[in-house]
């Protein structure tokens, strides 16, 4: 049966109907699942990053066992792929890609963004990470080591970015507000406060 040419919305509606009629998956279950999935967002990962910036013990836990660190701040990880955390340091940067599909640390960042799933990002990042980062205006010093992580199997990877200068006394909330989705995949780096002259 050739399913390639059919209308996608129609196919979804028919499959959903058939599953509901047979009592396999109800519409209510799907609606509930959508609501649960919508709740995960980059704010969760940003909170972990901010906490790691302020608390060395949490940072150590996060780097050693991302799933345990996520659980410890109330993010449900049971039954999900293990979370691996790639620790950026001054002079060492990480960027995550999934060349085969779009493996993404959804529990802590939510749905993968459009660009992460795109052919251009998947094809180019393993070969030309600096060129890809430049699409976001991210320019790393030439002597910074760039490690690309191709997420090919059972782990899901997030980047723990370096803490921006000038944020020494900041609260966890204020720090978390600095951290964007792209910072935790490694296409961008968190921007510190604007320097007033």
């Amino acid at each position: 049966m050739n399913l390639v040419q059919v209308d996608s919305a129609r196919l979804l509606a028919i499959v959903t109907d058939m599953l509901a009629e047979q009592g396999i998956v109800s519409r209510a279950e799907i609606a509930e699942r959508m609501e649960i999935t919508d709740r995960a967002s980059p704010e969760l990962g940003a909170r972990m990053v901010a906490k790691a910036w302020r608390e060395p013990e949490f940072r150590a836990l996060m780097v050693a066992d991302g799933s345990a660190a996520a659980e410890s701040v109330g993010i449900r990880m049971r039954g999900l792929p293990p979370l691996g955390v790639l620790e950026n340091r001054p002079g060492h940067h990480h960027v995550v890609v999934c060349t085969l599909c779009s493996c993404y640390p959804r529990a802590v960042l939510g749905y993968p963004p459009f660009w992460f799933k795109s052919t251009a990002y998947r094809a180019r990042t393993v070969r030309d990470p600096r060129g890809v980062l430049a699409e976001w205006g991210t320019a790393l010093p030439a002597d910074t080591k760039v490690t690309v992580v191709d997420s090919t199997a059972d782990y899901r990877w997030m980047v723990l970015p370096t803490r921006p200068e000038g944020t020494q006394d900041w609260s966890e909330e204020d720090l978390a507000a600095l951290v964007r989705e792209g910072d935790m995949i490694g296409v961008t780096v968190p921007r510190g406060p604007a320097i007033s002259c």
Binding site: V126, R127, V146, V148, V149, D150, T152, D154, Y155
Partner: protein, 93 residues
Amino acid sequence: MSLPPGTPVRVKDDWPEARGPVHIRTPHYVRGRRGEVVRHLGDFPNPEDLAFARPAPERALYHVAFRPTDLFPDATGDDLVIEIFEHWLEVGA
């Protein structure tokens, strides 16, 4: 027993997708290439079996590092790390 960090490995130069329907998690660009074990990530059911709803024995999964210029002459990164299952790795080589 799992391979310790630093073990030199070579990814098998095997192309099962040319022989029939398969699902594999070893990207084409590392096949036949040399790298080094970063660490053992754990043991996971083999996705090559899971994709076909077959019983899936657990296999050791490793983070393996490659030199990007060994894979792409024009690479702009300094290090490339990939999850690879044990049955795709040849030790030493």
